[in-house]
Homo-oligomer: 120 residues x 2
DNA sequence: CTTACAGTGAACCATATGGTTCAGTATAAA
DNA sequence: TTTATACTGAACCATATGGTTCACTGTAAG
């Protein structure tokens, strides 16, 4: 209950920063070290480390250090809770879900096409 | 482009606070004055005013002052952008959309049932 | 062994955030 | 016309945030 609220807090806060959303985009493409990310976002190692820690705390990213390099990947959490929260409020806002339906359908079609393409 | 990023920033930031999410829930039930909200959330008028302003700036709430009382209602924005962003990242995280599909279907069924009930 | 590299932690800094109090202004009620 | 209500704005406060530098540790490479 309380945990749930805290998690929404930390997740939404984690998402409320351009750099961190950028890092998530980046990691969606491929895993990266702190150094990689720091360079890509023109920031000190220490600064990037902080962002990664915040994302990690929100469960959006996981990291593993092997040797001297820490590799960051997207976390296992898939924003179900946050999606559900937003959905619930879309319900309050509007009596219809057509817009999201379209988004989901579109992404689903796109994703299936991609998967198909990759598989061949 | 830049605007888009700023909007995600402000919206996610607006949602990253328990009180503000509470206000949204509240307004989902019925419109309310600043005084109503301040009482409900045990906070000064000034404090609540700030929260409402933040929600207003994010387009999540609209207000209208008539006489000396300002009435707050849910805004017209329906979090399409934010839902889309989260969806896009769910795509990165997972190859399947079943979970959200279920959520949407469930809410849609529930909403349709409600609408049906109200209409009769 | 020495040197370079990747990350980490502490300290610091400017600004933002979430809240307050206090002193107004405008409107409604008596 | 007085008084109470509803809000507003400025000022203030403590803490959080997003970033830096600097000193350090551990690991890899020469």
């Amino acid at each position: 209950m309380v945990q749930y609220k805290i998690r929404l807090d930390t997740t939404f806060a984690a998402l409320a920063d351009v750099t961190r959303r950028g890092v998530l985009e980046q990691l969606g493409g491929s895993d990266a070290s702190i150094t990689d990310l720091a360079q890509r976002f023109d920031m000190t190692l220490t600064g990037m480390k902080k962002h990664v820690s915040i994302l990690e705390q929100a469960g959006l990213v996981t990291t593993e250090k092997v040797g001297r390099v820490r590799t960051c990947k997207l976390g296992l959490r898939r924003l179900e809770e946050e999606a559900a929260w937003i959905e619930r409020h879309r319900e309050l806002w509007s009596a219809r879900f057509d817009a999201l339906d379209e988004i989901v359908d579109h992404l689903k079609r796109k994703e299936r096409a991609d998967a198909h393409r990759k598989r061949r």
